[in-house]
């Protein structure tokens, strides 16, 4: 009896510790949600409920100098989509070669992938700035592509390309793991039937690693959607044509007075929505990918 009581006490203690440590997380998110729907707040107490903070959806909230939220959202979405597509394609091509082919330098290439995965690429921002400046000088590729603007400095494509470079080592490594786990009998019979290696990769293996593609896509999309430092460093004009959501919000925060705070929070929640959707529908996958060696951040 006493033993059972002690056991129960122990588990209550464990829950208490867990709740206490997680308290700041609850506080931050509750503040965000309460503030978004309030005229003003004191701590977590709302001084009146309103939906006015969401008016940024149909009119540019911070004066005519700022672009519409939808343009900014489109930019952010383009950045995330381009980056995701390139990362998935390029890393699965390389991963296929590393998993299935024998060639000179294979070992070296694999070690390189791992070294780059561990290497803090954010320390190379200064020289990458110069590389992007050089790419800008190339006609068309640099700054003449519609929508994404090109792949140079101050373009969505350029920012996407830098983010691709930062994600690739992780992508190649994850995808190689998925390819390694597929039985090679199917592939072999296709090769005997006369398919080329490229056909085998595209028509047989890619459909078989859909879970891997999904996992990497989610990871890449979220990290591009949330990115701040790379878009901030490699675009100019804080409210210009190439602004993404993170930069847009940060710009208000440094400029806005306290009364606009609620609207800034609303824009923040707006940026958080797609992430939350992923969060609720792909929990298992998320815990797995981030355990697989998330890069960057603290």
């Amino acid at each position: 009896m006493l033993k059972k009581f002690r056991l129960k006490l122990k588990s209550i203690f464990a829950y208490l510790v867990l709740i206490l440590f997680s308290l700041p997380i609850f506080l931050t998110f509750s503040w965000l949600i309460i503030t978004t729907f309030s005229t003003r707040t004191e701590g977590l107490k709302s001084l009146g409920w309103t939906l006015n903070n969401w008016s940024f959806l149909w009119k540019s909230p911070f004066g005519p100098n700022f672009p519409s939220i939808w343009l900014v959202t489109l930019n952010t979405f383009l950045l995330a989509a381009i980056m995701t597509v390139i990362v998935v394609f390029v890393s699965s091509m390389s991963a296929y070669a590393l998993s299935r082919m024998k060639f000179a330098g294979r070992r070296g290439f694999l070690s390189l992938t791992l070294i780059l995965h561990a290497f803090p690429s954010v320390t190379l921002l200064i020289p990458i700035y110069f590389i992007l400046r050089w790419i800008t000088k190339i006609p068309i590729i640099g700054h003449g592509i519609p929508f994404i603007g090109g792949f140079g400095f101050n373009t969505i494509g350029g920012v996407a390309l830098v983010m691709v470079a930062f994600q690739l080592p992780f992508g190649v490594w994850i995808m190689k793991g998925f390819f390694d786990n597929i039985s090679w009998d199917m592939e072999r019979s296709a090769l005997i039937d006369g398919a080329s290696r490229f056909q085998v990769w595209w028509k047989i293996l890619m459909p078989n690693i859909k879970p891997g593609i999904a996992a990497l896509s989610i990871f890449a999309f979220i990290s591009a959607w949330n990115a701040y430092i790379i878009p901030f460093t490699f675009t100019v004009g804080r409210a210009g044509k190439t602004t993404v959501l993170s930069v847009y919000i940060q710009n208000f925060m440094s400029e806005s007075v306290m009364t606009e705070w609620n609207m800034v929070a609303a824009v923040g929640l707006f940026q958080l929505i797609p992430v939350l959707i992923f969060f609720f529908f792909t929990q298992e996958a998320l815990l797995n990918i981030y355990g697989g060696g998330a890069k960057g951040g603290a």
């Binding site: 440590f21 070294i115 320390t123």
Partner: protein, 335 residues
């Protein structure tokens, strides 16, 4: 390669072109892997190798906004060690070094390893579903856009009556006068903000490692009458020492080079260089112009030291954690 060749001969013999095994198809099959790798190689060369060379060269020059386009920085004649002398004789060098060490060690010990271990131990020992949900909540911090995340923490630290901590915790307890907490104790918040993101990485790795420990060990220790603390101390911790070492080293490097959160939270302030860390200094020197001048050369010199640490640590992982052994031979070639 030879086997692959055989396979192709086999496949060709199935088709009507039995004798066309030429030099070109041989060359083609030799080049094919590199064709698959070429996109990665191009991107990696453009954004890792060339930058790696440039950052070293730049660190020996005094390239900045005023002499950009004039200074021929690629010529060895313009290279000096001045930037490095400037770093080590900087009046604020001891302050920045001290800040960096404090930031990395405090966040690492308290959160990225300490808190991660505590959360992993608790969530693996309670109801499975609740444990899973708690881990997800911790992951939420990492998944939140960093700008929004920092905004929420700024609101937490805000002055009374707006600030959540001042209003609901410090106010009722009668501590402080409701000032903006980021100005009073910026370091506490920097460690908290980074720690709540960083803890999730270790937490995920530790909890899957703890779940992988065979249940027999736990049962045996219980039979022997070990207390919970003894079980953790003498069974769990020794069994997960490898993941522990991995997370510790990996996170040390991550923290050493991460500055995004500090840039957004305090931007090195509130006092002069009060929360400026090494990587933030490199960024500030090169991109944000305090005196209307962005010093790319000087900033690169700060960055190069981190780059060297990064390369050394990356190679150490490769050796210590025997990643080489993960490299298995490709199967498809063994037909």
């Amino acid at each position: 390669m030879r086997n692959n060749f055989q396979l192709e001969r086999e496949t060709n013999s199935l088709s009507s072109f039995s004798n066309t095994k030429s030099f070109f198809s041989k060359l083609k099959s030799w080049l094919l892997p590199y064709a698959f790798l070429s996109p990665t190689l191009i991107v990696v060369t453009l954004f890792f190798f060339i930058p790696l060379v440039i950052v070293f060269i730049l660190s020996f020059t005094n390239l900045d906004m005023t002499n950009f386009g004039i200074l021929k920085w690629w010529q060895p004649a313009n290279w000096t060690l001045d930037n490095y002398i400037k770093i080590f004789t900087n009046r604020f060098f001891p302050k920045i070094l001290n800040n960096t060490l404090m930031y990395v060690s405090a966040t690492l010990i308290l959160f990225n390893v300490g808190m991660a271990l505590v959360i992993a131990l608790i969530t693996t020992n309670i109801n499975r579903r609740i444990g899973f949900a708690s881990r997800l909540i911790w992951l939420a911090c990492r998944l939140t856009p960093v700008v929004v995340y920092i905004m929420m923490w700024k609101a937490l630290a805000g002055p009374s009556p707006m600030g959540v901590i001042n209003k609901h915790i410090l106010g009722p307890l009668g501590i402080g006068e409701g000032e903006y907490l980021l100005h009073i104790c910026p370091w506490i918040f920097i460690v908290l903000v980074n720690g709540f993101i960083g803890a999730s990485f270790g937490m995920i790795i530790f909890s899957s490692a703890i779940e992988a420990i065979p249940k027999d060990y736990m049962i045996a220790s219980k039979v022997d009458g070990a207390s919970t603390w003894q079980t953790i101390r003498y069974i769990t911790i020794p069994m997960i020492r490898w993941p522990l070492l991995f997370v510790t080293t990996y996170q040390t490097l991550s923290l050493l080079t991460s500055f995004e959160q500090i840039l957004l939270l305090t931007n090195g302030g509130p006092g002069l260089y009060e929360t400026e860390v090494w990587s933030l200094t490199a960024y500030h020197r090169a991109f944000s112009s305090y005196f209307g001048n962005t010093q790319w050369g000087y900033g690169s010199a700060w960055a190069v030291i981190l780059v060297i640490i990064g390369i050394i640590m990356a190679i150490v992982y490769l050796r210590v954690f025997r990643f080489n052994e993960l490299i298995q031979e490709p199967k498809i070639e063994q037909l």
